[in-house]
Symmetry: C2
Subunit: 339 residues, 2 copies
């Protein structure tokens, strides 16, 4: 039944002080264990690469336990059921879950997040726009940001998997959308593919002037995926009652020790503004409703997405660092088998 | 009808770069203007001293316009109507409003905030626990902080006019209250007068250890009146879902340029916590309901208050700097006449 008897696995070998790179991982081959009762064998097809993986391999306590040294790298993946000793899952079904960076996963059924039914849409979208990235954009923007029509919504990492979706949902809600991104290629992507009213290159010398020009009525909602100097510039432009969604901190290479930045208290006080942290798993009960709505937007062409697919598991170890260097265009995935 | 023909006024003479002190003001005597139709003459009895006055005399845009050089210092005051050409106000009535640091104020009736009816309670309370300080504590804690019974509520400037009231309201709501204050005298006040479960001296060498001991279950609500290193210590102890109320920034001597501090984004993200700025005037429509509730607590002895009354208008110019040095005990007022 198994197509291969050996399972290639990407193992965490050492802890990075900042961003994990190829040197911190090793690819090994191990035999596949037999299925116990209640378990499912999944052939991974797409492995996900997340900025959040930096936190997962860090020794500092975070949302969840750190990945242990010697363990398979924790990762979301989408794959096909190849064997099952659980009545709810059957060979040939496509599923997503925390299956790790490996060819095959033997998991308890409860580790499976969901079955993928998206007629006509690629399986890869289940890890991006129709996965946690789209869900993050949806709940963070709508529940925490609470944008109103006509308001100015600024998004950092605007061309990224989460940012691009957030910008497009804000546009659907009638907002003036401003994307912050690095370099002229991504500025063009923001404008032409993701429909931002303005896109500003934070690496450009005239960043602050361009930000002023893009936000003539100030900033009502800031969807922050970066922290750092990009956020510092946005904070100075908040309107009264502004909402700042803290969704990621991509521009900060290490939080140990906590880096210094301009204090935010005065901005928040004078503008009666709010900063609030967001984690998508707090909204798990509402994932199905959100996925239905995002899928409808994708099918209608109102939410477009980009995927940056690397071919072969050998690209996994260096893939996180590449995201932090900004080399991906859209959601980064690793394809390790055919659908 | 006028008891004195000359009006002593405290005039803003120069702009401080940080905290205003005596040298930035001058006391002058000017003649009182006649009342025009619709105007009211008020004999000020208590002048209020606010930390917020630092912002009012700053050249940097804030909630309201800066006090102009040469103008009477903007201030809340409580006084008695001595003359009126408005049908709603009559000699002998006690009123509060933005009457300025001066013996007498000639104002349009709309400048009067409210008439004071507090049988058996001193007029001075209308500027403190039954004025903007109490209202600030009430709305900031309950509306922004949303404390739940059993949660840990930490208050900075815990013995101050706002902080002491916030701590007592949190206790009424069933919270574990922790006061942060400077020096053993104020620690004693927090424990014995304001009923904090714990009080911690932020000036003590063992501040961080004492804070840990005072908050064994972490921090759910932080009522922040200081910013600075006191807040930095609290931010590291936030619980998931914590609410941080940004009500004042007393420990920061200047915001121009914005001082550096440890970035807050990671705390907010990992804990899905919220920081939100607060301004009491946003709640003006609900002042009457809140005052009724606070007054009932004061009469029942559940909310106690301290007032730090300086005698004579000559103390006004140096009074703000004294608040920033922490020399007051409770609400600082200047009494310039008898009730």
């Amino acid at each position: 039944m198994l197509r291969e008897t050996k399972n290639r696995q990407v193992i965490l070998r050492s802890r990075p002080s900042g961003i994990p790179d190829a040197e911190h991982f090793e690819i090994v081959e191990t035999p596949l264990p037999d299925l116990a009762d209640g378990q499912v064998l999944i052939r991974n097809i797409y492995l996900s690469v997340e900025p959040a993986m930096r936190g997962w391999v860090s020794a500092v306590a975070n949302y969840s336990d750190s990945v242990a040294l010697g363990d398979v790298m924790r990762a979301f993946a989408a794959g096909r059921v190849e064997g099952s000793r659980h009545p709810d899952f059957h060979p040939g079904e496509f599923v997503t879950g925390m299956f790790g960076w490996q060819d095959y996963a033997v998991v308890d059924a409860k580790a499976i997040e969901r079955k993928v039914h998206q007629a006509g849409l690629p399986l890869s979208t289940s890890l991006g726009v129709l996965g946690l990235n789209g869900l993050t954009a949806y709940f963070a923007l709508l529940d925490v940001g609470q944008p109103r029509p006509g308001e100015t919504v600024v998004v950092s990492t605007a061309a990224g998997a989460v940012g691009s979706c957030a910008g497009q949902i804000a546009k659907i809600k009638g907002c003036h959308t401003v994307g912050l991104t690095g370099g002229p290629d991504k500025v063009k992507l923001c404008r032409e593919m993701f429909g931002y009213a303005s896109a500003v290159d934070y690496k450009a010398e005239d960043f602050e002037l361009a930000l002023d020009a893009a936000c003539p009525r100030g900033v009502d909602v800031y969807f922050d995926n970066t922290a750092g100097r990009i956020s510092d510039a946005v904070m100075r432009r908040l309107n009264p009652g502004a909402r700042v969604i803290i969704c990621g901190t991509a521009s900060v290479s290490s939080w140990d020790p906590i880096p210094l930045g301009p204090r935010v208290e005065r901005h928040l006080l004078v503008k009666r503004a709010r900063m609030q942290g967001f984690l998508v798993f707090d909204y798990a009960q509402r994932f199905p409703e959100a996925l239905r709505e995002i899928e409808a937007w994708v099918r209608a062409g109102q939410v477009r997405y980009l995927e940056d697919v690397l071919e072969g598991i050998e690209h996994a170890p260096g893939s996180i660092a590449g995201v932090y260097r900004g080399e991906n265009r859209g959601k980064r995935l690793i394809r390790i088998a055919t659908e």
